[in-house]
Symmetry: C2
Subunit: 333 residues, 2 copies
C-alpha cells in the first residue's frame, strides 16, 4: 500500500487539519470536534443553511463544497463511513441563521440514519430542517426505483444551485425545491479501472482483472452493470452517455451541463479525451452543451476511472450554476 500518510488512524484528522491550515480564510471548525467544517462566515443571519456530510476519501466531495454560494457546513466521517448524528447536529447548529437548514447528501443507509437522527435533535432546538438526497447513479437501480439510487458526482450540481438559492435569500422550502429539481434532472454513470486501497485495512475496495473495466461502478466500489474487457475511450463514452440521455428523456433541442469527473488516479488528459467524445455524442443527438466541468469533483481515493453526469438545463438552472461561489476546491464567477 503506497500512500503518503502517517498512522492510518489519523488520516482523516490530519487531512482536515491540512485543509484548515491551508484555507483559514474560507473554512473553520465551529467547536472542538475537528470533524465539522463550516464556511468562515457561518451562520448567515436570515439565510438558509445547507449541511452536507459523508465519508472521507472522496475529495473534493464532500468537504470541498463548503463556502460562499455552496454548502454552509459539512460533517465528516471516516473513510467511506458516515459521520455521527451528533456531528451532523453540531454542523446544523453552526449553520442555522434562523431560516432553517437543508440537509443535502448522498443516498447511503448510514448517512440517512444519522442525518435523520440529527434532524430530530435539531427540531428539539427549534431548528427546522428539510432533506434532499443525491441519487443520480443510474446504474445503481432501474428508473422505476430511482428513489433508491446511490448518490454520486451529480450532487455537485445540487450543491451549486441550492447554494446559490440560499445565498440570494430563498426560504427553506424554495432552497429544498431547487435541490430537488436539480436531483431529478441529473443522471450519472461511472467506470472503474482499478480499485481504491483503504488506508486502515490496506485492502482493495474491489477486484478487477488487469485487462477489464467495470461500467456503472459506485464511488465505494459498489458493483456495476457490466464488467468486460477494457474498451476505447470512445466506446466507454457511448456506454456511459446513452443511458443518461435515455434516463433523463433528453431529446433534440434540450440543453445540458456535462460533468466529466475523474475518480482519482485517472489523468486529466484522459478526462479530456473522454469529454471530446461525450461532446460529439450529445451534439449529434441535437443537445446543446451550455456548461461543462472536467476534472476531479468526486473521487474514490486513488481509484482509476471516471464518471459522466448530465444535467438537463433551463434558464433558471443555468443561472444558478453561473452564480458566484467560492470554496477551497470550487470557484465560479
Amino acid at each position: 500500500m503506497k500512500k503518503i500518510i502517517n498512522d492510518p488512524e489519523n488520516f482523516v484528522d490530519e487531512m482536515i487539519e491540512g485543509i484548515i491550515l491551508a484555507h483559514p480564510d474560507l473554512v473553520r471548525t465551529p467547536g472542538t470536534d475537528p470533524r465539522i467544517l463550516v464556511r468562515a462566515d457561518a451562520p448567515l443571519p436570515g439565510k438558509v443553511g445547507i449541511v452536507t456530510g459523508g465519508g472521507s476519501g472522496h475529495l473534493p466531495l464532500f468537504k470541498g463544497y463548503v463556502g460562499r454560494g455552496l454548502c454552509s457546513a459539512v460533517a465528516i466521517g471516516n473513510v467511506f463511513s458516515s459521520p455521527s448524528s451528533q456531528q451532523i447536529f453540531e454542523a446544523t447548529m453552526a449553520s442555522d441563521g434562523g431560516a432553517g437548514v437543508l440537509y443535502l447528501y448522498g443516498n447511503y443507509g448510514g448517512d440517512v440514519l444519522n442525518f435523520d437522527l440529527a434532524a430530530e435533535l435539531a427540531e428539539l432546538e427549534d431548528v427546522e430542517t428539510r432533506t434532499v438526497l443525491g441519487r443520480d447513479d443510474v446504474a445503481s437501480q432501474p428508473k422505476e426505483r430511482a428513489a433508491d439510487r446511490r448518490g454520486v458526482a451529480g450532487i455537485v450540481f445540487a450543491y451549486k444551485a441550492a447554494g446559490a438559492a440560499a445565498e440570494r435569500g430563498d426560504g427553506l422550502g424554495a432552497v429544498a425545491a431547487v435541490a430537488q429539481d436539480i436531483i431529478e434532472n441529473t443522471a450519472t454513470m461511472g467506470i472503474g479501472l482499478s480499485p481504491t486501497i483503504l488506508p486502515t485495512t490496506a485492502k482493495a475496495s474491489f477486484d478487477l482483472p488487469d485487462d477489464e473495466m467495470e461500467i456503472g461502478i459506485g464511488i465505494h466500489g459498489e458493483p456495476g452493470i457490466h464488467r468486460g474487457r477494457l474498451e476505447s475511450a470512445d466506446a466507454i463514452a457511448t456506454r456511459l452517455v446513452h443511458p443518461l440521455v435515455e434516463d433523463l428523456g433528453l431529446t433534440s433541442g434540450d440543453r445540458v451541463a456535462v460533468l466529466v469527473n475523474g475518480m482519482g488516479a485517472t489523468p486529466l488528459e484522459e478526462l479530456y479525451v473522454l469529454y471530446r467524445r461525450v461532446h460529439h455524442i450529445v451534439t449529434e443527438l441535437g443537445l446543446t452543451v451550455e456548461k461543462r466541468y472536467i476534472g476531479e469533483y468526486a473521487t474514490s481515493l486513488e481509484m482509476a476511472g471516471a464518471s459522466i453526469s448530465l444535467l438537463r438545463l433551463n434558464d433558471d438552472r443555468l443561472a444558478l450554476l453561473n452564480a458566484p461561489a467560492e470554496s477551497p476546491f470550487f470557484r465560479e464567477g
Copy 2:
C-alpha cells in the same frame, strides 16, 4: 495498461480537441496546427506575449496555463517530447502584439534546442524574444550547478508572476526580469511512489519496488537522490522541505508561498496530509506562509507522488501572484 484512451497515436490530438471543445471562450488554435493553443484574445496589442511549451502528459502543465494573466500561447509536443521549432514559432507569431515575446519553459535539452531555433525564425520576422528557463528541481543538480537543473512544478509561480507583469503592460525586459526573479527564488523537490505508463509504448517510466519511494524524482521519472523504504508523510515532508529551505537560504522572518503538487494518482487527501506537516515545519523555522497552492499543478500522467515548491516572497512577488488570472485550469482573483 489501463487507460481511457483510443489509439495511443491520437492521444495528444484528441486531448487537445477536448480542451478546445470544453473551453472555447478561453483558448483556441490560431491556425491549422492543432498542437498550438493561444488565449482566445491573443495577440494583445502593445503587450508582451509569453510562449511556453513542452511535452504532453503533465496537465495542467503546460497547456493549462494559457489565459488572461498567464501565458499567451503554448506549443504542445507528444507525451514527454518537445514541440517542434515550427510550432513554437507559430505560437510566437500568434502571441506577438508588437512588444516582443518571452519564452518561459522548463530546462530540457530538446525544448531548449527547439525554442532557440524558433527564436531565430521569429527574429527574421522582427519579433524580439527573450528566454527564461524553469530550473527549480534542486534534486537534479547541486546548487553550484543550479543553471543546469530541470524545470518542474515551480514554473507555475513564474507563469503567474510574469503573466501578471505582461498583463499590466510591462515591457519585454521587465517581464523577463520578473520571470527570472521568480525562478531564482523558487525551489522544488518531489517524491515518486509509482511510475507513469507511456501510452504509445505501454512501458513504465521507471521501476520501483512495491515498498519503496524515490526522493528527488523528476516529472519524467528521472532518477532522484534517495531511494528507500516508503516513509511516513511527516518524514517525507521533512526530507523535501529542508533541502528547499537550505537551497533558498530561507531564515526566520522570511515569507514564502508553498505549492504541494500531486503528480497524478496521489489523492488530494494525501496532499493535505503532506501540507499539514510542511506548514508546521516552515512555521517552526520562523517562516510565514502567505500563499499556498495544493492540488495537481504539474503531473506525470498517473504517477503516484508529490512535489513541494517554495517561493521566497516579497511584496512585489506576492502582488503578482495575487493579480487576477484565468485559464481553463487556473483562477486567481
